[in-house]
């Protein structure tokens, strides 16, 4: 059962320099799932995603499709099939929209399919096609977020990590973006691990959820269960 998992994290500790942020995190993501990570500021949500990509120090076990990633290079984690859309989007602002998508496919060898995928993302996000020779830095926040997601998916990842995709976006644009995520998950079977402050948005597409508190998993369960959980409702759904 565990072998089939896209992501299996056990006993994860992680942090920056002397500071330990994650004390003991265990979570998993099965193929085709959308899993959301909730938590207050400073609970360690972003650090969890960074730990998976090996951009911070880590202890414990991080398996991607059964292969241990701890101690590997970020470039190797990407090659193992993980794509990360960092907070603040991480687009290449000096590069054109088209070049951003090309870079997204950097680890791929199948040149022909890359062009087909670029066309695919242009058809999903027509705004990006209109701006394909513009520098990414000149796009609006929502467009940049679309570009960041399309860029990440250009690597045809087994697992997409999204870090607060709604941050700084207008509510309507966030909703639109999450509709896209839901569709991408259903239609293309892309597995996702989403960190999100806006639990309403996240629950709309999530299958399961984890709640982080002070660097540990405090609650976990199916999205339907957690949506009914009183503590979660008070803390993250604002009802």
């Amino acid at each position: 059962m565990t072998d089939g998992r896209v992501l299996d994290v056990q006993g994860l500790q992680a942090g920056y320099g002397q500071v330990t942020v994650l004390r003991d995190v265990g979570l998993y993501v099965d193929p085709g799932e959308v899993v959301v990570v909730l938590g207050a500021n400073g609970a360690g949500k972003t650090t969890t995603l960074r730990a998976i990509c090996q951009s911070v120090w880590t202890k414990g076990s991080i398996r991607v499709t059964g292969r241990e990633m701890r101690g590997k290079d970020t470039a190797d984690v990407v090659r193992a099939g993980v794509a990360h859309v960092p907070q603040g989007r991480g687009t290449f602002n000096d590069l054109t929209v088209l070049d951003n998508l090309e870079v997204g496919a950097y680890v791929r060898r199948d040149r022909k399919n890359v062009n087909a995928d670029i066309e695919l993302w242009f058809s999903i996000f027509p705004r990006l096609e209109q701006r394909k020779y513009q520098r990414a830095g000149s796009l609006s926040g929502g467009e940049q977020q679309m570009l960041a997601v399309a860029r990440a998916l250009m690597s045809r990842p087994k697992l997409l990590l999204l870090d607060e995709p709604s941050l700084g976006l207008a509510p309507l644009i966030s909703q639109d973006l999450f509709r896209h995520f839901g569709a991408i998950n259903r239609e293309q079977g892309v597995t996702m691990l989403v960190v999100e402050q806006n639990a309403n948005l996240a629950f709309a597409i999530a299958h399961r959820a984890y709640v982080l508190e002070a660097g540990m998993v405090s609650t976990s369960g199916s999205a339907a269960e957690l949506r009914e959980d009183d503590a979660v409702r008070r803390a993250y759904l604002g009802v």
Partner: protein, 351 residues
């Protein structure tokens, strides 16, 4: 199915047109204003210069200025390359080029290789040497720690100068030109002379510019280069091995630097300090062009070469002693008007 492919072809053709239109718009009015201003100054100066000394003298000084300019451009290209791949200014670049030129000298004069073969082998050796220096002395640092890396390059500036002094001492040596240098090897245009050796330098610099630009624009490694210089962290997150890109940047810029040194050496004399003056003007040229623009580096070099020659030639007060300083004064004025250089990319960022 065949209908679909025709459609994509039409689309691709439109893409080319579209790209052209956007590029045209990007060049835009702002840039035109700057160039309009420069052009006006140029026209006024030319008219005055023709009245002052005749058109033949102006033409000859233009060719001499271009000649100096291309020399600065060659070295400026190497500086822009390292800046684009690492975000640092490599102070050791000039002395690395000097060392590479000495290696070419040894291969050609002492080992008897042809000039062209000697230069090419020296370029390869410099590239390998720079890659090794990068791995041993730069790689251990965080690539974002620009200050530390700059200090490392300053140390290598001194180390390489000392090494060259120990090995080759400080007697100036004549360096053979790869181009014909006989007394009659020149073309005459409007009474002014351009030597074949000069034309050779101009052509080599332009060819280098084209090759390097195509490398950055059209190849996968070029895309990685541009991505890393735009956003290092995201570069990691798309799976680019940053270390290799940076190492390749060092190697490539060292090879171009050695080529520049070998082009410059025949008109100066080769000694361990021969690049120091050139380096300053090449820095200036690169800054003027915008530091991250290869074409800008070449144009920046040409402007500096021309201003230097014209001001020294036409204004007695400036003379040859102050002619280089006057070139720097021009740069300061241009940078006041356009802080990111003539062709540098202003960082556009909407958040």
């Amino acid at each position: 199915m065949s209908g679909g492919s025709t459609k994509t072809q039409v689309k691709a053709a439109n893409g080319g047109l579209e790209r052209g239109m956007v590029a045209l718009r990007n060049v835009g009015a702002r840039r035109m204003q700057t160039f309009g201003g420069l052009l006006a100054v140029l026209v006024v100066f030319s008219v005055w210069a023709v009245i002052d000394g005749g058109s033949k003298l102006l033409l000859q000084r233009t060719f001499d200025g271009l000649n100096n300019g291309f020399i600065y451009s060659a070295m400026a290209l190497s500086l822009v390359l390292i800046y684009r791949s690492t975000g640092i200014i490599n102070f050791a670049q000039g002395n690395m080029a000097m060392f590479g030129t000495f290696i070419a000298y040894v291969l050609i004069v002492e080992q008897g290789l042809s000039v062209v073969a000697g230069v090419i082998v020296a370029m390869v050796i410099s590239a390998i040497g720079a890659a090794v220096i990068e791995r041993l002395f730069v790689w251990p640092f965080d690539p974002k720690n620009h200050l530390a890396i700059t200090i490392v390059t300053l140390s290598w500036y001194l180390i390489i100068a000392a090494l060259a002094g120990i090995i080759w001492a400080f007697d100036p040596r004549a360096f053979p030109s790869p181009f014909p240098t006989g007394a009659n090897d020149y073309v005459s245009i409007g009474g002014a002379r351009i030597r074949y050796a000069s034309l050779g330098i101009w052509a080599t610099v332009l060819l280098t510019l084209v090759l390097v630009t195509q490398l950055l624009r059209r190849t996968k490694i070029g895309l990685a280069f541009r991505a890393v210089s735009s956003n290092l962290d995201s570069g990691r997150l798309v799976g680019i091995r940053i270390g290799r890109v940076v190492q390749l940047g060092w190697a490539l810029s060292a090879a171009v630097g050695t080529l520049a040194g070998c082009l410059i050496a025949p008109s100066l004399l080769l000694d361990p300090n021969f690049m120091s003056k050139v380096l300053i003007y090449s820095f200036a040229a690169a800054t003027l062009g915008g530091l991250d623009s290869l074409g800008g580096a070449v144009i920046g070099g040409l402007i500096i070469g021309l201003v230097q020659t014209m001001s020294g030639g036409y204004f007695k007060i400036i003379g040859s002693e102050f002619s280089l300083a006057s070139a720097l004064a021009v740069i300061i004025v241009i940078l006041l008007v356009k802080p990111s250089g003539l062709f540098g990319s202003r960082r556009v960022e909407r958040v």
